[in-house]
Every structure is written in C-alpha cells, then in structure tokens.
C-alpha cells in the first residue's frame, strides 16, 4: 500500500515538473468603477523571463506601456524569446467592470503567464501579473491583480495631449467622465523610481483648477483592480 501511494506522488511530481504545451482560456475583468485599461497583453513565456518586477526599474518597453499604453516594445521582446502572446484581446480599451477573453496555445517550456495593461487616467499606473506559474492540472483558476506604478513618471495627474510618449509628463487621456482642467499638478517628482504598488490617484473636487485634473469621487480605486480567470484545458 505504501509503495503504491509513493508511486502516485512521484507520478504527480513528474507531471507538474514537465512544462509541456497547454491550451488556456484567459479572462480579464476590470473590477474598478471608473478606470479604463489600455490594450491588454497576455503572454506565456519561460520561467527565466519577466515583463516587470517590483523593486526593480522598469525597462524602456514597460515604460512605454505604462505611460502611453504602447505594447510594441514588449511584443518585440516577447517575439524574440518565442513567447506565446495575445495582444489587445479587447480590441481597444477595457471599460470599468467589462471583461475580455484571450485564447492561448502555449509551447513547451512557456509555463509562466504574465499580463499587463496601462490604467487610464494615471501617469504610469498599470495592472500586472508577473510570471504566474500555469498549473499543469486542468481546471479553472482565479487570480486578482493589483495596481502598480512603473516609477518612471511623476504622478502630476494633469491630462495633457500627447503625453503618452515616454518621458512626456502627463496623462494622455481620461476616457469616461470628462477630466477637470487647469490643475496645478499634484507633484513634479517621482522619488521612487522602482516599480511599486500604486499609491492611488488623489484627484480633487474642482472642475477647473485645483491640484489635479482627476476627480476624487471618480478616479480612485482600491486593490485589487482586475480579476484573471484562467481555464487550463
């Protein structure tokens, strides 16, 4: 009896040790009441790769995603490492409490799942799942994502046309409720330049002027900000 149990355990260890190809359905739900997500990147890659890591500086490609929603740089890197990627499954912005689905066929060895998308309106806030180990066992799994700050731009909370370009200060767009105007800026510095948990938008209650162009009753959030439902087939 004992040997039979042992062999079963050994069998399951071997099964989970091999990073074989898998079919995944990935559903991403925006849990917030007033924040939009820019095109979402869903990717399966090897365990030695990461799109971002808390406590470390953002790559140029991640910065471009977090400040302007561009996935070009990240996609180029992912193609280079033979990741399996679905780019922009929602076909544009993912509105508050909306969901989108991505189907992913992973290759041998691509057993980590990562997801990123910029949060609008923020300066450099993004939703992130970093190298989540894809279970080898078929089933449905739920993961909740927090909001991160890329640490690459001061959170001045001013909506400025064209500021999605890396290094151009400002929030490129505020979909949904119209933003305020002529704010003086919440801050002009970013003292923590490493990727960290976003401290949230401040906003204010003035349509014109005040510190922020954002509204404090509309553009705040509490973590988690997204729910990911992964179905392993």
């Amino acid at each position: 009896m004992k040997t039979r149990i042992l062999s079963l355990i050994a069998g399951s260890l071997l099964a989970s040790g091999t990073a074989s190809a898998a079919s995944l359905e990935v559903k991403v739900t925006n849990l917030t009441q007033g924040i939009y997500f820019t095109p979402i990147l869903v990717t399966a890659h090897t365990n030695d790769a990461m799109l971002f890591n808390t406590g470390e500086k953002a790559s140029d490609a991640l910065q471009a995603m977090a400040e302007g929603g561009s996935l070009d740089g990240l996609n180029e890197i992912l193609t280079g490492i033979s990741a399996n990627t679905v780019s922009n499954p929602a076909g544009g912005l993912l509105a508050p409490v909306a969901s989108t689905m991505a189907s992913l066929e992973t290759s041998d060895g691509n057993d980590r799942l990562s997801i990123v998308a910029m949060m609008l309106p923020t300066n450099d806030g993004f939703i992130g799942l970093n190298s989540w180990k894809i279970p080898s066992e078929a089933g449905t799994y739920h993961v909740y994502l927090n909001a991160y700050d890329a640490g690459t731009e001061a959170n001045n909370e001013l909506v400025v046309d064209g500021s999605g370009a890396p290094g151009t200060l400002g929030i490129p767009a505020s979909p949904g409720v119209d933003p305020g105007t002529q704010g003086s800026g919440v801050t002009s510095t970013e003292s923590n330049e490493r990727i960290h948990i976003h401290r949230g938008n401040l906003g204010d209650d003035e349509a014109t002027g005040g510190k922020s162009d954002l509204h404090n009753t509309v553009h705040r959030w509490l973590n988690p900000v997204a729910k990911v439902t992964v179905t392993v087939q």
């Binding site: 009896m1 355990i9 409490v97 959030w221 988690p224």
Partner: protein, 232 residues
Amino acid sequence: MKLSKLIIPLTCLTLVACGDDDDPPMTVDPTPTPTEAMIKITATNLTYAQPLSPIGVALHKEGQFWQLGESASDALEVLAEGGDNSELLGLDVVQTKASTDAPLAPGAKAELMLSQETLTDQKLSVITMMVNTNDGFTGLNALDVSSMAVGEEMRFVTYAYDAGTEANTEASGTIPGPADGGEGFNAQRETINKVAMHPGVVGQDDGLSSSVLSSDHKFDNPLMAITITRMK
C-alpha cells in the same frame, strides 16, 4: 482527478483498520432519515469606523446576490443604500436565512447559525452595507459549502463593492450611517448602474469639501473576516 486517486488508497487503509474491530457489522437503513446540517458563520468588522448594517446570511441553491458589471437588483439596492437586508433574504431562492438584530460595530464580532436538512448543492451568501457610505456593501456571494465535512472550517476575507445605484457624493443627507443620519434607500439610480468594486470614500480631510465624512470613515480591503464552521 489526482486528489481522488490519492484518497482511494487512504480509504482502503481505513477500511482495513476497521476490520480489526470486534463490533458487529453495521446494519444499513435503506431509507436513512435526513440528517440536519448546521453551519456557524462568524463575522468580524475589520474597519476603523464603518459600522456594518445587520449581517444577513442565507443558504440557497441558485442565484447570486450580485454580479460584477451587471445592474444591482432592487433588493440589493435596498441593502446597499439603506442597510436593510430583508428583501435579499426574502428572495424566493433563499432556503434558510438569519440576520443579526443590530449593526456590527467596528472591531466587533457576530455569530450566526444556519440549519438545513442537508448541504447538498447549497451555497452561502453573506451580505451587509458599510453604513457610512452612499451605496457600499460587502459580503460573500454564493460560496459553495456543499462539500463541507462536519467540523470543517473555512476562512475568508471580504472586499468592498459599490452597487452603482447612488452617486458617491458623500453629501449631507445622503448617508444613512451615524456620520450623517441621512437618507437610505431611494429608487432613483445613478448613471453608472453597474456593480463594481468600491473606490473607497474620499472625505472632507482628503479633498472632498462637500463630504460629511472624515478620514475616520476611510477603509481599505479587506472589510470583514469570516469563518464558516460546519457544526453538524
């Protein structure tokens, strides 16, 4: 699948061990009388200064008290704006229900019991309003308790949701809790009209000059700690 494979040999071991007993073989009643199942729900208010409206608990086989991204039901709106759980607990799908008599103060703990003939297919929902908000609520939504064994315990924390039925103005006269003593339920709906996660309250100290709330009323996830124990 793996789990069941592992359980089978263990069950065999138990049976083998039973074979050593001197007890006479059990007789099996072909029509066993239903055994009563009972679960205990313990809820703790984790907030600083958000009393929670009377805690409602219900067992049901179908339905959900809320669905993210969908409009709140009228019964949920009544709970989320005014703290009255009677309409949700009175829904046709609810098979067994219980509620505390009074709101649950910050830091306080409440205990509720639910009895049902059997837990087969049963789901548990727990619901309450953060009363110093416009339409904020928290709880557990159709949690599967059907496979709980007697003596088993499950622990959860709950998140803050916004019914999306009343704008978060935090204005005087709009919040039913002690911070304001204002209006509870009002059938009018705000334009959002979708259940989402709650963005938190702002308060006067944090830049909403027209708010009746202060920094005391701010909260963060999680809101409640819940322990579910199957008693019998």
